[in-house]
């Protein structure tokens, strides 16, 4: 995370030039489309397209890699739990039972393993476009993008305020921890057991909450005094007019979303099992 507390990485690319709301729309359409399927072929295709988009966005691999690792680990755990809890779920969908591991009544079927694989691909398929939205949308455009796709501005602005104060709160937490550490409170591995350390982190919450409440009061006064909430709508300093490119991507997104909905309604998200 950068100093400003957001994930934004400045690059000169096609996608950086798009309005944030369009990228949000793309994310929604993409996600909608992905959820119309339960088909590994489609997901693989979308992952490839997604990676192509990321390539075009010129984002450094180093920055986005941790998120991929995170989602890999997440899907791995997810799959393991699925296998343990519903070892025959995939077979119920396909109607065929190919036992991989069998312990009497309890057996994990190949169909379920493949189902987990498909499900993992599904999550991973959403990754590239999410990363695109998070990393190429300037934090200043976040709130206005949300507002542009229909989120009321009072709620949308909360996102902006959060982005604004995350770094400040982070500094404050560091200060408090430093102060407590200097009085012999253990925060580091080796100084005390995990339980004690967790308890010690809880003590940090007292001063942090107190100062946060104070901060909230001042921030809301400052916003009130400058007329936040005065009108039913508000304009946005950073908001640009939609360009032709924006409109094309919007049209594309709508088309993809519509296709997804049609497929979902006609065929349904049928589990594709090759074997």
């Amino acid at each position: 995370m950068s100093k400003s507390g957001s994930l934004y990485i400045e690059r000169d690319s096609l996608f950086h030039g798009l309005d944030g709301s369009i990228k949000l729309l793309m994310l929604i359409a993409w996600t909608g489309f992905v959820f119309a399927f339960m088909d590994a072929r489609v997901f693989l295709g979308m992952i490839l397209i997604g990676l192509g988009i990321l390539k075009l966005s010129k984002l450094p691999a180093k920055a986005i890699w941790p998120l991929f690792v995170f989602i890999f680990v997440f899907t791995l755990f997810n799959s393991v739990f699925l296998l343990l809890i519903t070892p025959e779920y995939g077979s119920k969908l396909t109607g065929s039972y190919t036992d991989l591991i069998s312990l009497g009544v309890y057996s994990i079927t190949l169909e379920t393993v493949f189902y987990c694989f498909t499900l993992s691909l599904k999550y991973i398929a959403i990754m590239p476009i999410t990363i695109l939205f998070l990393f190429t949308t300037h934090p200043s455009n976040f709130a206005s993008s949300l507002n542009r796709v229909g989120v009321p501005y009072r709620i949308a602005y909360a996102v902006s305020i959060a982005l604004r104060y995350i770094p400040d709160v982070k500094t404050e937490v560091e200060n408090i921890i430093n102060a407590q550490e200097a009085r012999g409170v253990a925060f580091r591995k080796g100084d005390a057991g995990l339980g004690t350390r967790l308890k010690n982190y809880a003590t940090v919450m007292v001063p942090l909450l107190l100062s946060s409440f104070n901060r909230i009061e001042v921030v809301s006064n400052a916003m009130d005094l400058r007329g936040f909430g005065k009108n039913k709508s508000r304009t946005w300093y950073q908001r640009k007019k939609y360009t032709g490119l924006d409109m094309s991507f919007a049209a594309l997104s709508f088309a993809v979303l519509a296709a997804g909905i049609v497929i979902k309604l006609t065929i349904g998200a049928v589990y594709w099992y090759p074997f």
Partner: protein, 605 residues
């Protein structure tokens, strides 16, 4: 046209059982520059809330009388409508900076007014230009200094084009140089636009040197003075209400000058007619400068630290000694490396180069013993962690609320000792002793929340003191305190110092450093550019310029009077104001000033 009218206004907050304002009558004319002052809790901020509409809209309570702002009653309008009459700048620059960049923050009010983006771009540029911040338009708040954030806030108000500008403690969180610039910006705007300027502030000297039309002193919810700065200073109003006069006025009074309103002493240059009277007193002063030379307790040698390998050093090659029973001020402006140095000493930041030694130095081995790397009797503590250092070097943060985690005062002070597993009886003894030194013994069974800000500050000192450190570092110890509590607080620190503990003050308050520090270390750009007595530092134009410190009015008056030895003129003043002498501790010999003083020019550049 009257900008603001108070007619017999009383106000009591809903959650308090006493009124905060009593029968206030006040008229502020259009285009006036008015300073409203008073000590903490006097009601001056409440007065401001009545002007900008936070009372009655945000802070509820019992309101009597009538307030008119530009002829309209706030209670008949809305808070939003008040926002178009009064532009408020709050004292916390971080909390009022709601945008993610300077430009956005300026645009905030315009956005809420549904101004079209194209129009907004132009208006924001114009407003930023007026406060000289246009080059920083796209910078996030994290990369702006406090002073710059404040300028952005001012630009935000200018973009709204309101007739009244209200500043609530604009100098509270700024270093003196930025504070001076902030005041200059405010006055520049007044010159250009003729708007009504109302400043709420207790740092009176810093405001009055910019020429205000009127001063209103509030005490205990009542207006106790309302008149010109000249009358205020001539009538000696401020000390009676626990407020500080400008230093040069204090000096005049000490020398027996009786000025009248017509003498117009609010302008420093007008004091030239008292030159002979002041200099006569000063020349009569016979004082041989004998300062105690105690053993060194903490020694820094060539300490350098940078946050990242590819970055330049934040502090570089910092060396100085702290002696037992010495109060040492580390001065310098924001960005000079003060807080990083503090982190290095307390072990939070692991410095890459240099060493820190701790322990009473044995001076017998000193002569000609340059080969030995470690000073005799001192321990090298570079490998000590922050926790290990805590028992040797106490660290008191600027904001007491960041340190306090317990509900009861006794527990708070005992907290550190308990963490280190000190026995119950020993803990009790040390807690009680620390509480006594800090004047909190009677309060030991009180909840912390019942204390004032200044008292909380003392609790944090006691909680550090109880751990028995030989050195205590304080970060901006008097920030946020008014003059009365500043004085009180510093007298406790003086006592602690006299018990033999070395005290390091990290501060940008030159008055504090001048009056209480035995010596000073000046940081600029991460390097030590001077180590000397504070009076000498503040008499030296080169240091002041280099470190971007603020000229004290004593020094300016000394120059006006043509005093040659400015530092002893300044020292004379300090001695008269704070007769700081520890009862002889017995140990330690005296050194001559010449030997103690050393000055290091920055080698490169």
């Amino acid at each position: 046209m009257k900008s603001v009218v108070f007619e017999d206004v009383s106000f009591q907050y809903g959650n308090l059982d006493q009124p905060t304002l009593h029968h206030i009558d006040l008229v502020i004319d259009e285009g006036e520059k008015v300073l409203i002052t008073g000590k903490s809790g006097s009601g001056k901020s409440t007065l401001a809330h009545c002007i900008n509409g936070l009372i009655p809209f945000t802070y509820k309570g019992e309101f009597k009388g009538r307030v008119l702002v530009n002829g309209k009653e706030p209670s008949q309008l809305s808070l939003f409508a008040m926002g178009t009459q009064v532009g408020s700048i709050l004292q916390d620059q971080d909390c009022q900076f709601v945008g993610l960049s300077a430009g956005e923050d300026v645009a905030f009010a315009l956005e809420n007014d549904c101004v079209a983006p194209e129009e907004m771009q132009v208006a924001v540029d114009i407003a930023l230009q007026q406060v000289d911040m246009l080059p920083h338009k796209n910078h996030p708040p994290q990369s702006l200094s406090g002073g710059q954030k404040q300028k952005v806030a001012i630009a935000g108000i200018l973009a709204m084009d309101v007739p009244i500008l209200l500043f609530d403690e604009p100098l509270a969180n700024l270093d003196p140089a930025s504070g001076k610039k902030a005041m200059e910006t405010i006055l520049d705007i007044h010159g250009k636009t003729g708007k009504t300027i109302i400043v709420i502030e207790h740092r009176i000297e810093d405001v009055l040197e910019h020429g205000f039309d009127r001063v209103v002193v509030v005490d205990d919810g009542k207006i106790v003075f309302n008149g010109t700065p000249d009358r205020l200073l001539a009538e000696d109003v401020l000390p009676g209400y626990g407020l500080r006069q400008p230093l040069y006025v204090e000096m005049l009074k000490l020398c027996g000058v009786a000025a009248r309103e017509e003498d117009r002493i609010s302008v420093l240059e007008n004091t030239v007619k008292y030159k002979d009277q002041v200099l006569k007193k000063y020349m009569e002063d016979r004082f041989t400068d004998q300062r105690p030379n105690n053993r060194t307790i903490l020694k820094l040698q060539g300490v350098s630290f940078r946050y990242f390998k590819e970055d330049p050093y934040t502090i570089e090659d910092v060396s100085f000694d702290v002696k037992e029973g010495e109060m040492l001020a580390i001065v310098g402006n924001n960005g000079a490396g003060k807080s990083t140095l503090l982190k290095a000493i307390s072990g939070i930041a692991k410095y890459q180069n240099g060493s820190i030694y701790y322990g009473a130095e044995n001076q017998q081995g000193e002569a000609g013993n340059e080969s030995s790397s470690s000073p005799v009797g001192m321990q090298r503590i570079d490998t000590w962690t922050a926790k290990q250092r805590a028992l040797a070097i106490g660290f008191v943060m600027q904001n007491p609320n960041h340190m306090i985690t317990k509900d009861m005062i006794y527990d708070e002070v005992a907290f550190g000792l308990r963490n280190f597993g000190v026995g119950k009886e020993e803990t009790d003894r040390r807690v009680k002793e620390a509480l006594k030194i800090c004047g909190l013994y009677e309060y030991r069974n009180w909840p912390v929340s019942s204390l004032s800000y200044g008292q909380k500050k003392r609790v944090t000192i006691a909680s550090i003191l109880s751990m028995g450190p030989k050195v205590i570092i304080l970060d901006e110890p008097t920030a946020g305190q008014d003059y009365t509590s500043y004085r009180e607080f510093m007298s406790y620190l003086d006592q602690i110092k006299c018990s033999g503990i070395g005290i390091i003050l990290i501060t940008h308050d030159m008055h504090l450093a001048l009056e209480y520090a035995d010596s000073g270390v000046v940081l600029s750009g991460g390097r030590v550019i001077a180590k000397d007595y504070m009076d000498r530092i503040l008499a030296d134009n080169w240091i002041i310029g280099k470190a971007n410190l603020k000229h004290t009015s004593i020094e300016r008056m000394g120059r006006l009077f043509g005093v040659e030895d400015l530092s002893s003129f300044i020292a004379y003043f300090t001695r008269r104001v704070t007769s700081k002498t520890c009862a002889e501790t017995g140990s330690g010999k005296s050194e001559s000033r010449q030997a103690a003083a050393e000055r290091e020019e920055v080698s490169h550049e």
